[in-house]
């Protein structure tokens, strides 16, 4: 067993874990932050995307121990208190989700996309950038609209 400490959603946390523990397991089981999901075992679906030190990372392929001292933000930490993040609001407004399972990863990936690509995102860029996130419900049509609108709203 090993100990790991990091900051998750603004709070200092630590845990004693098996070295093979993945970040997603640490978040879900140790911290009971179950908004981050596991949809595959090959790092393809992106349901597990969180931000580590400001960058989108698939937490299903990240060992928790490698996050020692890191700052992690999950879907639970995205809103500012009761005020939703503009990207969360955009997904709701544009019906960018149905079953909700891929949604946390989609939103975290979308925020990262805006951080890297700016607030004016065209359809082609959004579709290209969503390569690592799979949704089975929406056909992506409304996710694309939501990301475009969320990106614009983040500029305000």
């Amino acid at each position: 067993m090993a100990t790991v400490s990091m900051t998750v959603n603004g709070k200092a946390v630590s845990g004693t874990i098996e070295p093979r523990t993945l970040l997603v397991q640490f978040l879900r089981e140790n911290l009971r932050l179950t908004g981050t999901h596991v949809g595959c075992d090959t790092s393809q679906c992106g349901a597990c995307v969180v931000h580590i030190d400001g960058k989108a990372v698939k937490s299903c392929t990240t060992l928790a121990l490698t996050c020692e001292g890191a700052t992690v933000v999950t879907i639970e930490g995205l809103a500012n208190g009761t005020t939703l993040h503009p990207m969360q609001e955009a997904f709701r407004e544009h019906h960018g989700l149905q079953c909700g399972y891929c949604t946390p990863g989609m939103i975290m990936a979308a925020v990262d996309m805006v951080n890297r690509k700016g607030n004016k995102l065209d359809e082609h860029t959004i579709r290209d950038e969503l390569e690592g996130n799979i949704c089975r419900c929406t056909g992506y049509h409304n996710i694309v609209k939501a990301v475009e609108a969320g990106a614009a709203a983040m500029a305000k």
């Binding site: 179950t34 908004g35 995205l78 809103a79 149905q98 909700g100 946390p104 959004i126 056909g139």
Partner: protein, 790 residues
């Protein structure tokens, strides 16, 4: 209506979304029970083998192991096998040959992933580690994998009850009349089709937690189910876990289903049984590869189809011969899919005097096959729309005009294959779609593509489906083991808030919003005051669940019936409170008024009076305001529409780009257009996935080669277009709201639209699904040769 912004027809933003966008959803894997253990299944690495011996002695000594159970333990406890709930009879009247389907293998395994043993340990890692130490001695048998040769002489037998691997050999329609029509025909179009096997791949993998309360002698099963009551019924009445009042099934938030979560599988059966066995809760969560291996797959048909026409291209008859793969065991509704959900749709939207269909279903050493989004109807639509398209091309007629000529124009219309279409406007939808898709401008676009060395094509699909399933007596006469009504209970609280308990289950469809819209509009109360409760057999008394686009047409109709009763009772309360005759009470915009007076009471006031019961005696009226209803529809509903796909193919790379997608659908009454459009988008995406990307590949030994998202072509955002949608609604006469259903339409319509577009671009019909770049590149070489020769 007092609440136009939240009633029927309003694009209300979803009530359920807040928890999903903030990470507060509650899926099965998010639940942990006190003292919980973890299950890992030892699965067969062979497609077909006898089990000589299972040795778990070494595994039992591994750290953290709580128990290891096999089929022997299951049999000792008299736990019944998994069932198929729809009886089909062969042409000769013999019943289908259902092989035994134990939840843990009974001496034989029949597909890779089949359940051999379960290892239960303190942690999932310990269970996995211990499973490595379970030694299974297999005697491998030749695997039956290829559908075409699965019944050939000399192939091995999968189930003793079906020596030639044939489950049943069924037919529908008038064979003699069809043969007469073919003899009289001037043109006959013939095609051979493969409807490719698909893996549903809901993003949430299946999961289950079994829990046993020794004090109450009662079980609880948390499971990823589209129909928790059906699961309870099967686990109680057939598998024999516990009687229904001692078994609670909870399906919390469920991350997509698409049919794959209708069925009762081995894993949840084992978890709930094992919980009592080990005296602690048992949790199992599938990893994605387990999902690929063991979830019920979809489609997998081989079909030869023929269409007879007169000299003008009027369709005279259709005959179809299909072989359908049902996999290694009969899943819960497997037998219904290639029969009554398939052949009755072979008339499409067309006036066809004679139809005859033969369907032979077989066992193979592959995962069980059952309903996947559309279930039988995509297969039927693929047959009909490929036939129609090929026929039009062979006759040199415009495919849209050919369809228009053959469309049904009068309703009700009795087809030769069971269905009576009750309402529609097929030609109207076609006209609207032609305009929306700018088909008039296609010629120019095609020429522009050609200038860039690209091949452009246009493909139509005029689909119809039968959904909102369905009248219980009708499905019962066709072999269904259950009724297909729905139930609802409307509980009005003393403060005027309303809880609706429904037997439908929402796993992405947005019922918490659409069902609340119905109540908000009807009772004239804010939508925030309405809660929709589902997915728990201890809360909702009974229900048949969500599949077959039935929750609007059947589930909401049950709510309408319960609301009728609530309104009637509330009128009695209002009449007594306002000292008026009941007949003089009007209810509108959330207020009860006495005709011709200024006396009125708000809905909430009446609710309070119903509960305080100060204004009437028990002899006059029973207190309270709570009503229930069961609704059994009078017919299937028949959503229909026209989808037009426009593709551009790069013959150098074989990449097919969907440039434009146009859909005009008739779903009857639309409760929430935003949600309906979302359903259409998702359905089309799955249909494009089938046509272009998704193919399930087993090797000749029965090993699944496409068992991860690395190998199976799940459609991604950059594979798909945006969609242009239109609606042409005619109300369904068979339910009070006029709803037809929208959940499956896209998946049904899309595959032939894509393939018709690709074959239009290629100028020949020689392409199968999935039309991957490799397949299209090969097909395009033939086109280039043909063009060079011309």
């Amino acid at each position: 209506m007092s609440t136009p912004t939240t009633g029927i027809g309003a694009p209300v933003r979803r009530k359920e979304d807040h928890r999903f966008i903030t990470g507060k959803g509650n899926y099965t894997d998010d639940i942990n029970r006190h003292g919980q253990t973890h299950a890992f299944f030892v699965r067969s690495p062979h497609a077909h083998a006898n089990i000589k011996k299972i040795d778990s002695k070494a595994a039992m000594k591994m750290p953290g192991v709580v128990g290891i159970l096999t089929g022997v333990d299951l049999a000792a406890d008299k736990v019944g096998g998994l069932i198929c709930g729809w009886m089909i009879h062969s042409k000769d009247g013999s019943p289908m040959k259902a092989g035994a389907h134990p939840a843990l293998a009974d001496g034989k395994v029949r597909y890779v992933g089949d359940h051999v043993a379960v290892v239960i340990a303190e942690t999932i890692e310990q269970a996995r580690d211990a499973a490595e130490k379970v030694v299974v001695d297999y005697e491998t048998l030749p695997a039956v994998v290829d559908l075409a040769t699965s019944t050939a002489k000399g192939v091995s037998t999968i189930h003793d009850v079906a020596p030639d691997n044939v489950v049943f050999d069924w037919h529908l329609g008038d064979k003699a009349a069809t043969e007469v029509a073919f003899k009289a025909a001037k043109h006959v179009t013939k095609i051979d089709l493969v409807n490719n096997r698909l893996v549903p791949n809901a993003m949430e993998p299946r999961a289950a937690i079994g829990d046993y309360d020794a004090g109450e002698e009662a079980f609880t099963l948390y499971t990823t189910s589209q129909n928790p009551h059906v699961a309870r019924l099967i686990l109680s009445a057939f598998i024999g876990i516990a009687p229904e009042h001692k078994l609670r099934v909870i399906a919390p938030d469920v991350g997509g289903g698409f049919g794959s979560k209708i069925y009762v599988y081995a894993e949840e059966t084992v978890c709930v049984w094992a919980a009592k066995k080990v005296g602690r809760p048992v949790k199992w969560v599938a990893d994605r590869t387990e999902e690929f291996l063991c979830v019920a797959h979809g489609r997998d048909h081989l079909t030869h189809a023929e269409m007879a026409m007169d000299a003008d291209g009027k369709i005279l008859a259709v005959r179809v011969k299909t072989r359908a793969n049902l996999g290694a065991y009969l899943s819960t509704f497997a037998s219904a899919v290639p029969t009554y959900l398939y052949a009755p749709l072979l008339s499409g939207q067309y006036d066809i005097p004679a139809i005859y269909a033969e369907v032979e279903t077989v066992y193979t050493n592959t995962a069980p096959v059952d309903a996947y989004r559309g279930a039988g109807r995509p297969e039927a639509t693929f047959v009909v729309e490929r036939l129609v398209e090929c026929a039009a091309r062979q006759l040199g007629q415009d495919p849209a005009k050919f369809r228009m000529k053959n469309f049904i124009r009068k309703w009700p219309h009795q087809t030769p294959v069971i269905m009576m279409y009750d309402a529609g406007d097929y030609a109207g939808s076609m006209k609207q779609a032609l305009k929306l898709a700018d088909v008039a401008g296609f010629g120019k676009r095609k020429r522009d593509s050609a200038k860039n060395g690209k091949l452009r094509g246009l493909g139509y699909s005029a689909y119809i489906e039968a959904c909102g399933i369905a009248p219980s007596a009708a499905v019962g006469s066709l072999g269904a083991g259950v009724g297909l009504w729905e139930s609802a209970e409307v509980r009005v609280n003393p403060v005027g808030t309303v809880e609706v308990l429904t037997g439908s289950h929402s796993h992405g469809q947005g019922h918490e919003t659409t069902f609340a819209q119905l109540v908000s509009g009807r009772l004239g109360i804010p939508i925030e005051q309405v809660a929709i409760i589902h997915g728990d057999t201890d809360k909702v008394q009974m229900g048949m669940g969500t599949y077959g686009s039935r929750s609007g047409a059947v589930g909401m109709s049950a709510i309408v019936k319960a609301l009728d009763k609530v309104e009637a009772k509330a009128k009695k309360v209002a009449a007594l409170c306002m000292e008026a005759a009941e007949a003089d009470i009007d209810f509108k915009d959330g207020r009860f008024t006495v005709k011709g007076t200024d006396k009125s009471m708000a809905f909430g006031e009446v609710a309070l009076q119903a509960y305080v019961a100060h204004k009437f005696t028990g002899e006059q009226l029973e207190p309270g305001l709570k009503e229930g209803a069961f609704y059994d529809p009078t017919n299937f509903t028949f959503p229909a529409g026209v989808h037009i796909c426009e593709v551009e193919i790069d013959p150098d790379t074989g990449v097919t780009k969907v440039e434009k997608w146009t859909a005009v659908d008739d779903f009857g009454t639309i409760i929430n257009p935003m949600i309906v459009e979302g359903q259409v988008h998702g359905g089309i995406a799955q249909g494009i996935g089938q046509a272009l990307h998704e193919g399930t590949v087993y090797d000749k030994n029965g090993q699944l080669l496409t068992a991860s998202f690395m190998d199976y072509g799940m459609p991604r955002a950059d594979d798909l277009p945006s969609y242009s949608l239109g609606f042409n609604s005619t109300a369904a006469p068979s339910n009070p709201l006029g709803i037809k259903g929208c959940g499956e339409a896209g998946a049904i319509a899309a595959p032939p639209a894509v393939i018709n577009a690709i074959t239009d671009a290629l100028g020949h019909e020689d392409i199968a699904m999935p039309a991957t770049p490799q397949a299209v590149w090969r097909a395009a070489q033939k086109t280039i040769k043909k063009m060079a020769a011309e």
